[in-house]
Amino acid sequence: MSQVSRWVWLPVLVILLTGCASPTLYTWGHYEDLIYASYAAPGSVSPEMQVGKLEEDYQKARAANKRMPPGFHAHLGYLYFQLGKSDQARQEFETEKAEFPESAVFMDRLLANLNRP
């Protein structure tokens, strides 16, 4: 019982602690959870499913005018690449680069790899 109530209250406390103290810079959605899942139980999260979740996160963030974290679009692009969807992959790598110019060298490298036959 005490175990159960602890887990019930946990999200509330997390929101209180993180929400009030200072606003976060980014909307995190499922980004890190999916990375964890893809290593811990690769069979449980197909690239298709991951793309679906991340696109959903992105739409929600856009509607709320929030920013996605660094690496998000690069990661999403990489998933599209795994699915053979080069156009979407390219678009995500370009978005990462536009959002975070620090990623330009790496994104250009991934873009160059995409263009390779």
Binding site: R6, L17, L25, E32, Y36, Y39, G71, H75, Y78
Partner: protein
């Protein structure tokens, strides 16, 4: 004895803060300030624990605390895959990567080398303690200079300590929503908090933070 009681009632993070805050001098940020990075490449950690799940259980928790401090953090899973495809199949090999290559090929200003010293759950008679201990070094890719190093620890006890509020706060900070088989994964945020956010010992704010450059 007293220390043990303290750990049980307040959690490792608070102890880490106390230890860091009182016992040791503030970190010397001279090199860090001389070469302030905009972007940080976090490599999969070296795992000194006995739990194989540690490497990726930890890696998937490290982006958020560093990005929220204001740095560009390279996509950890994409980087992992990229390095694997370029002849570095393990974290051990990745940690040997030449820094000038990281600057040239990936464009990272700094690399964070993390070592997991402890990752897992110890079962005691009544309680169990899940502990994550990490140490990390931030190195400038262009000069090879050590910018920062630190240690962090997170601990979560099950079985309860009797201090309900303390339990709840500790649990909330860990965000250990998914315990299950890899409880240590849920404790990583707490370890990261003490590693990166401890005053005078953690990372400085990065360029995307509104606090950037305001620290003394």
């Amino acid at each position: 004895m007293n220390a043990r009681v303290l750990i049980h009632t307040t959690g490792g993070m608070v102890v880490a803060l106390l230890l860091a805050g009182c016992a040791t001098k503030p970190y010397d940020y001279t090199n860090y300030r001389a070469h302030p990075p905009r972007s940080i490449l976090v490599l999969p950690p070296l795992n000194e624990s006995t739990d194989m799940k540690g490497t990726y259980g930890y890696l998937s928790t490290v982006t958020r605390p560093i990005a929220e401090l204001g740095y560009y953090v390279f996509p950890v899973a994409v980087i992992d895959q990229f390095l694997k495809e370029n002849g570095m199949p393990t974290a051990g090999e990745m940690h040997q990567v030449p820094l000038n290559k990281v600057a040239e090929i990936i464009g990272a200003d700094a690399v964070l080398f993390v070592t997991l010293q402890q990752y897992g759950t110890k079962y005691q008679v009544i309680n169990s303690a899940t502990i994550v201990r990490v140490r990390a070094r931030l190195v400038d890719t262009r000069t090879g200079i050590l910018l920062w190093e630190g240690e962090g620890m997170g601990q979560q006890n099950s079985g309860g300590t009797g201090n309900i509020l303390g339990d709840l706060i500790a649990a909330a900070i860990t965000q250990a929503i998914n315990s299950g088989t890899d409880a240590a994964h849920g404790v990583c945020p707490m370890a990261n908090y003490s590693l990166f956010y401890t005053k005078d010992h953690g990372l400085l704010y990065g360029p995307y933070s509104p606090e950037y450059g305001k620290e003394k």
